[in-house]
């Protein structure tokens, strides 16, 4: 599972147990109180783990906030970086001692490099940056993490927070673009593109138009790339004409379809265009119920059969809409009772 154990054995030779340290004789170690006579989810801690945590409990019990207690939290974190209590106590100590936060930032950088998929380490970094009010290292730091894992959710979350809080948008679109040149399927990068534009210039008409051109070019290269299609749909949320009235997009889709391409995302978008026209009672010879039904059938049977039930559902929903006066969903339960019951019916 975790990587705590590797770390534990690295320095095993030079390691001195807290219970054998002269300068810790004044602290009473506190054992974990697990309750009953039988073990429950009891972890076979190594002697080192038990020693460190016994002393940590001892220190927390008397509320000691000192340099040696700070060092002890680092040992505890090295054994389990996901222990939020230790991190919280460490922050209490940092505050009390008015510690050098630049040094703390370097420390947390190292910890994150070892444990980059953990909520606590990233939260700690964020708090330290907030205390320091210095965001100058955040873009470079997250970029370094993203080199190894371009889709690390925590890294992106931290990066977005720093960008938004400290106004670091400059150069971000270029960075995103370089990530997309590396991997056109990097959905985190597509999402970041949307984030940057949404929080800066906004999806005004000419931005939508330019972005549509950008994404269509990417789709043309890899028509099976869901990320790009999703981004296109995201852009069209801001198109005043809706999904089905952007001539660049409709022309592109029709040409692609005519060329014989059967990307499920292409067919799905045309279904959505038909759906929109039907909802707006603006059917025409291209985007109508007949075409929607045919495409749903094609998706359900040959192009995207794993989702056959969904495409049958879509076909029925659109047909109903076409025949329904209001054009709105006729039904839909919103009670938790219906949802609860739905999980509890086996067809035996």
């Amino acid at each position: 599972m975790g990587d705590s154990s590797d770390e534990e054995f690295q320095n095993s030779e030079s390691w001195v147990f807290y219970r054998n340290r002269d300068d810790w004789k004044d602290v009473e170690p506190v054992e974990q109180e697990d309750g009953g006579e039988y073990p429950v989810v009891s972890i076979s801690y190594t002697p080192k783990f038990k020693d460190v945590y016994d002393y940590l409990r001892g220190v927390m019990k008397i509320g000691e906030k000192s340099q040696r207690a700070l060092d002890l939290t680092a040992d505890a974190i090295a054994l389990n970086a996901a222990n939020y209590t230790v991190w919280q106590y460490r922050r209490d100590i940092l505050k009390e001692l008015k510690s050098d936060l630049a040094k703390e930032l370097k420390y947390i950088e190292k910890v994150i490099q070892r444990h980059c998929k953990n909520y606590q380490v990233w939260h700690h970094r964020r708090v330290i940056v907030e205390w320091l009010q210095d965001s100058s290292k955040e873009l470079k730091f997250t970029q370094g993490i993203l080199v190894f894992d371009a889709k690390n959710y925590h890294a992106w979350q931290h990066r977005q927070w720093a960008i938004k809080t400290f106004g670091l948008y400059e150069g971000e679109l270029e960075y995103v673009d370089s990530l997309l040149r590396d991997d056109i399927r990097n959905n985190s990068a597509w999402n970041q593109r949307y984030f940057v534009i949404n929080n800066t210039i906004g999806f005004v008409d000419d931005v939508v138009s330019k972005e549509v051109e950008y994404v269509l070019e990417k789709i043309e290269t890899v028509p099976l790339n869901e990320s790009a299609w999703n981004y296109l749909k995201g852009l069209l949320l801001h198109d005043k004409g809706g999904l089905s009235n952007n001539v660049k997009v409709t022309t592109f889709c029709e040409d692609l379809y005519m060329s014989g391409n059967r990307s499920p995302f292409l067919l799905a978008l045309i279904v959505d265009m038909c759906d929109e026209r039907i909802s707006n009672k603006a059917e025409d010879d291209k985007y109508n119920l007949k075409r929607a039904s045919e495409l749903c059938h094609e998706l359900a049977t040959t192009v995207d059969p794993i989702r056959c039930r969904y495409w049958e559902y879509m076909s029925t929903t659109i047909s109903k809409k076409a025949g329904c006066e209001s054009g709105e969903d006729a039904e839909g339960g919103d009670g938790p009772e219906e949802a609860a019951a739905a999980g509890a019916s086996h067809d035996v």
Partner: protein, 394 residues
């Protein structure tokens, strides 16, 4: 009735098309497909010899879970701050595999778990991940769920609802979101855990969740799924939290259900049959619950009775690719089993059996309440108990 597995040649035909554009994402996907295809190939060979395959190795899984509920190797040290989770994952997995009439866990063992969880309860309210640890919303959620599954009066009565309520208020942000712990991070998990805890223990109030639905909706992304915080990428785990919250609050229509449903169904992998958690990421057994359950909830909100994902294909993935030989379930072939994946693949398997055909030997898992991922009856019993329990101090 018995369903046929998808023919092997269809799976081969579903292999990833790189479209002459090799990238890191496509390489990883192709590697996974290779290992998954190997599993399917050998499964299909075995099935020609034994029509009763694939089967769920119930006994081996039970042993794996039971071991975990008592003693875990030191490699689990990284979950030392998640021990209430270990209780919930084990108990829920066992309840899915066990007939309610059967006698495990025994009363005495249940009582030991209750005593352990009471040690995790913090004097200031809520539960920590282990004895003496600070309270945290996720570990409190897990503790309450575990106590709900045990379902005895002893279990219910250890919950200090007065301090629990104070804890929930202490982590509530002014906009209706929730921090995971005091001065901790904010994301959609916090809201879901808080709401689940509050509704199960009867301390829900409109005031506590004022603004919550609106904040959750602000996490729906242009893709249709939900992210952990506004602006981030749509993600399966957060999406479950979000749609479950909106359903419990009776406001699912506040979000765009159509784009949500589209995103959700697209997360089912055409070859593997399991779900990915984000667009262009890899399949993972745990999403068998997070994603499939979200499809169910979105479907219910749209008035659809049928499950709109491919139940047979998901069964195939779980049965063929997620079972470890010596017990326990896992993320994907090549990974080790653990209690987290065991819990959520089995929960997902339960959803594939709802109004559906089965593959292999029929083995029906317990029913779940999809909002809490606890057995249907246990949720009702706990809710009723606290509804009827007058607590003057609340």
């Amino acid at each position: 009735m018995m369903a046929n597995m998808r023919p092997f040649r269809d799976l081969v035909a579903n292999q990833y098309d790189e479209e002459n554009n090799k990238t890191h994402s496509s390489k990883e996907q192709i590697d996974v497909e290779k290992s998954v295809l190997n599993m399917y190939e050998s499964a299909h060979m075995k099935i020609t010899l034994n029509r009763n395959l694939p089967r769920l190795a119930t006994n081996a899984h039970m042993d794996f879970i039971r071991d975990g509920l008592t003693q875990l190797p030191h490699s689990y040290s990284c979950l030392d701050a998640s021990r209430t989770w270990l209780c919930y994952w084990s108990l829920h997995s066992m309840s899915l595999l066990t007939d309610i009439s059967k006698t495990w866990p025994l009363n005495k063992e249940e009582s030991m778990i209750v005593q352990f969880l009471s040690k995790c309860q913090h004097p200031s309210g809520g539960f920590g991940g282990g004895p003496g640890q600070y309270p945290h919303l996720a570990t409190t959620y897990a503790a309450v769920n575990a106590l709900c599954i045990i379902g005895t009066q002893e279990a219910y009565d250890i919950i200090n609802r007065k301090t629990l309520k104070e804890f929930l208020y202490s982590v509530r942000a002014p906009n209706g979101a929730f921090r995971m712990h005091l001065d901790g991070e904010i994301d959609v998990r916090g809201v879901y855990c808080a709401l689940s805890i509050a509704t199960l223990t009867g301390i829900y109030s409109e005031k506590l969740f004022d603004g919550t639905a609106e904040w959750v909706v602000s996490c729906q992304t242009y893709e249709g799924g939900f992210s952990g915080c506004p602006g981030l990428e749509a993600h399966g785990g957060y999406t479950f939290c979000a749609i479950a919250v909106l359903t419990i609050l009776k406001r699912p229509k506040l979000c765009d259900l159509h784009s949500l449903l589209r995103w959700l169904v697209n997360k089912q992998m055409k070859l593997e049959g399991g779900f990915q958690g984000r667009t262009n990421k890899l399949v993972d057994g745990c999403y068998s619950f997070w994603l499939a359950c979200s499809v169910l909830l979105a479907g219910v909100a749209l008035g659809e009775k049928k499950m709109l994902f491919n139940q047979t294909a998901l069964q195939e993935y779980i049965m063929v690719c997620c079972q470890y030989n010596s017990g326990g379930l896992l993320d994907k072939p090549g990974k080790r089993p653990d209690l987290y994946h065991t819990c959520y693949t089995l929960s997902g398997l339960s959803l594939t059996q709802t109004n559906s055909d089965y593959i292999g030997i029929p083995f029906y898992l317990g029913f779940i309440n999809p909002l809490y991922n606890i057995s249907y009856e246990k949720v009702e019993i706990m809710k009723t108990y606290f509804k009827d329990t007058k607590d003057e101090t609340l």
